[in-house]
Symmetry: C2
Subunit: 134 residues, 2 copies
Amino acid sequence: MTIDAVSKEFDVSKDTLRYWERIGLLPKIKRNSSGYRDYSEMDMNWVFYIKVLRNAGMSIEALFEFVELFRSEDNTNDYRKQLLIEQRDLLLKEVEERQKTISYLSYKIDHFEDHTLNYENEKLVYHAKDEKGD
Amino acid sequence: MTIDAVSKEFDVSKDTLRYWERIGLLPKIKRNSSGYRDYSEMDMNWVFYIKVLRNAGMSIEALFEFVELFRSEDNTNDYRKQLLIEQRDLLLKEVEERQKTISYLSYKIDHFEDHTLNYENEKLVYHAKDEKGD
DNA sequence: ACTTGCCTTGAAGTGGACTTAAAGGTTTAG
DNA sequence: CTAAACCTTTAAGTCCACTTCAAGGCAAGT
């Protein structure tokens, strides 16, 4: 598959695909007789994988660990699975943080009329455990 | 309150506090006789507010709109409230995206044994709940 | 053959959000 | 009084993740 097709298939710019390959996130892509990239099925899987995890906010740095672990022979599946679990839990924590801000904003919206900014009160609201307290 | 105290109270570096003020996210902070910053209660409210929204991933750009709207006289509360709602909904969407990746990772974890990377299948998994697809 | 447009590379540039440096004034402990 | 430990400013530097540029090779239409 050509770089243009892959770019369209996954909605990732051609430059980004070349960049990911250059820094080693993607493996060296095979070339056709003209030196153009020809992506294999496996390459596409990696593009999908990397895109999903990048979209979820995983850093390039973290993705290196990921990619390395899944490519190297001398790692057990248990270890790989553990990494997946770790990354999921990391994402879960991040989502929890976002949720806190969302309910804080909801509080501000619901109590808009009596709102005068007061960080001491709002700190309490912000850090209140997920109880729909009014 | 001194810059050092504010920095500690909100866990935001002094440099960042000066930076936020310089670019206009924070108002001009009053100075004491030595020219040192002396943060008022209102200033602290803004620090809290900005910190919460930054932590939630809101860009400086978006925060400008926010701050301006809440500072200017000629805007109705309705308009301000609308902005809060918009920002909350934006955050909600982002969280939904993250959730999708979380359940995708959960799927990968649960089906680890029979896993061979295959983006066509996994795309389906990833977009399972989200009928629209791309 | 020419033109248009896609592909290649390495290097340099961009944008966002700080962070650090340099040079100096102020406060406080001994 | 002196030195450490604060504070001030403006300007330059850093980090991340691309993105754009420059110079050229390859391919398809007319």
